[in-house]
C-alpha cells in the first residue's frame, strides 16, 4: 500500500494541476486526471524509477448516463517489479467524446482502445488503426452506451406466428 501511496505522491508532485481527485475505495487507489496530461502522466508512471508501471492490465470504458461528464475510461496500471496497482481514470463529456491514445506508451492499449471505440464511441486521437473490433465493420451505433437498447428476440407463439415470420430474414427466392 505504501508503494501505491508513494507513487500517487510522486505523480501529484510532478503534475500538481492535472490531478482532480484521489479516490480510495476497498483498498484500491484511483487517480482522476485531466485528459490533457494523460499521456504525460502515463509516460511518467511507466518510465520513472520506483514507479515502474510497465504493464497496462486493463482499459475499460464506463458510461454514467445521464450524469455529466458522461464517459470515463479507467486504466489499470500494474508494476511487475513492485507488485503495485494503480487506477487512472479520465472523464470525458457525452457530446463528441475524445481522448488521447495510449498505444504509444503501452502497445497493449491498441486493441483495448479499438474495443472502447467500438462499444462506446469514444475517439482516441492519434490511434494508428481505429476500427471496429468486436462488431461487424458496417455496424451502426455503440452498444455499451446506456441509451442503446439491449435487444432481444420476441418468442414466437401461435398468436403472433405470422407477424414474427414476416420479420425473419429468410433467403430470397
Amino acid at each position: 500500500m505504501s508503494d501505491v501511496q508513494n507513487a500517487v505522491e510522486r505523480i501529484q508532485a510532478q503534475f500538481p494541476d492535472a490531478i482532480r481527485e484521489v479516490v480510495e475505495f476497498r483498498g484500491e487507489t484511483t487517480l482522476v486526471v485531466d485528459k490533457g496530461s494523460l499521456v504525460e502522466i502515463c509516460t511518467f508512471a511507466r518510465d520513472t524509477e520506483g514507479l515502474d508501471f510497465d504493464r497496462l492490465s486493463d482499459q475499460a470504458g464506463l458510461d454514467y448516463w445521464p450524469e455529466e461528464p458522461r464517459f470515463a475510461v479507467s486504466y489499470e496500471l500494474y508494476s511487475l517489479q513492485n507488485g503495485t496497482d494503480l487506477r487512472i481514470k479520465v472523464y470525458t463529456p457525452g457530446d463528441d467524446p475524445e481522448l488521447p491514445t495510449l498505444s504509444g506508451v503501452w502497445p497493449t492499449a491498441n486493441w483495448m482502445e479499438r474495443e472502447i471505440w467500438d462499444m462506446f464511441g469514444i475517439t482516441f486521437t492519434g490511434h494508428p488503426d481505429l476500427r471496429r473490433i468486436l462488431l461487424p465493420h458496417d455496424w451502426t451505433g455503440h452498444p455499451l452506451r446506456k441509451d442503446y437498447p439491449l435487444g432481444y428476440e420476441e418468442v414466437q407463439f401461435s398468436f403472433n406466428v405470422e407477424r414474427i415470420d414476416d420479420q425473419k430474414p429468410y433467403a430470397k427466392e
Binding site: F25, E28, T30, R55, A60, G83, T108, N110
Partner: protein, 427 residues
Amino acid sequence: MGLTERDLINVTDIDTDRQTVETTLEELRGVVSDRAYSGDTMLLNMGPQHPSTHGVLRLLLELDGETVVNVVPVIGYLHTGIEKNMEAKTYVKALVMTDRLDYLNPMGNNLAYSLAIEKLMEVEVPERAQIARVLLAELTRINSHLVWLGTHGLDVGAMSVFLYCFREREFLLDIFEMVSGQRMMSSYFRPGGLWRDVPEEFYDTVEEFLNYFPPKIDDYERLLTNNPIFLERTQGVGVLPPDEGIAWGASGGTLRGSGVNWDIRKAHPYSGYETYDFDVPLGEHGDVYSRYQVRIEEMRQSVRIAWQALERLKKAKGPFISDDRKVVPPPRSELGRSMEAVIHHFKLWTEGFNAPKGEVYVRVESPRGELGVLLSGDGGPKPHRVRWRQPSFSNLQALPVMARGHLVADMVAILASIDIVLGDIDR
C-alpha cells in the same frame, strides 16, 4: 492497383465483388503493408471456419510465398454481448453468464466474479468454501490445459494426444457434474462461498483422479517432449521477448514461457493461495516449446495444490457459504423458523442486494493468464459496468510479433501455443 486492372476482364459480373473487396482493402490500408496493394504479397484468409484457429478466429495473412509478412487477427465472430447483458441482470443472476466467457475455465470466471462482488460488498468467505474454491479452480486449470495440449498436438500433427487428453477430461467433467450438476457451465461459486456443499462421494472421486492422473502426464511427455518432429516444429518458433511480452500485456503461460516470473497466485494471492505450497514453472527461450513445457509443469503443480486442498477440505468443518444475509440467501430450512430469514429471502429474490457506488478490480490467474474483472456498482441491484479483462485478448494481440517471418505451418503452432479461447476474446 493490380486488383483493378485484372478486373477489367469481366466488369459486369464481378462488379459487386470488386466493390466489397476494394472497400475492405481500403480499410486495411494502415494495417497491411503496401506490398499487398501492388500484388507483391498475397492476402490469404485463414477464415473464421478453420480447424486450427481454436474457435471462430479470422487471421488475415499477408504471405510472401509461404512466409508470413504480417498477420492481422480479425475477431468478433463469437461476440454475444455478455457485458451488456450482465448490466441488465441482478448481480447473482448475472453470475450464470460468467461461465460462458472463457468456456474452458468456467469455475475460474465464477471465481473472479464472486471475488469482485465479495470485495465490493465486503463479504467474508468461510474457510471451507475457500479451500473448495482452490481445489476446483485447480481442477479446472488441469481441464483447460488438457484441451490445450490435445488441440496443440492435433495442430502440430500428433493426433493421438488429443483423444488421450479428452479421455482424462471426461473424468474431470464427471467430478464437475457431481459437484454442481453441470459438466461445463457450473456456476458453482456464488458470492459468499459455494452454491451447495460438496457431496459425500466427492473426496474419493477426486482422490482417485489425483492418483490416476500424474502417470498420464508422463505418458503425454513420453509422446511429445523428446519427439524429434515435435522439437523441430516447436523449438525456436514464435519467440516472444520478455519485454515485448510485458508491453503487449501478455500473461499466463505465454509470458512465463519467456521467463517472466509472474503468477497472480503468488503475486496477489486470493482465496488462501498463499498458504499452499507450489512452484511456478518458467520457460527459457520464449518459443513454442518453452510454453509447452511451462504448461505441462503447471499441470503437475496443479495436482500438487489439489492434493493439499483435498486434505484440508476433508478436515475443514464449517459453513460452505457466508452467513451475511444481506448478500447470501438463507437456507430453506431456516425459512420455516425465522421471520428475518423470510424477509431477507424476499428482498434477495425480488430486488437483489444493492451494491455501493464505486469500482473494484479483481484479478485471478486463469489457465490463460490474468483474468480481471472491473466491477462498477451504482447503488442499485444491477451492476453498472462489468468489464472483463480477458487474457486471450492481449495474448492474441501479441501474435503478429511472434509470427512475422515464420511459415504458415509455424503460425499454426504459434497460435496453438498462445492458448486462446474465442469466448475469452469476443465475450
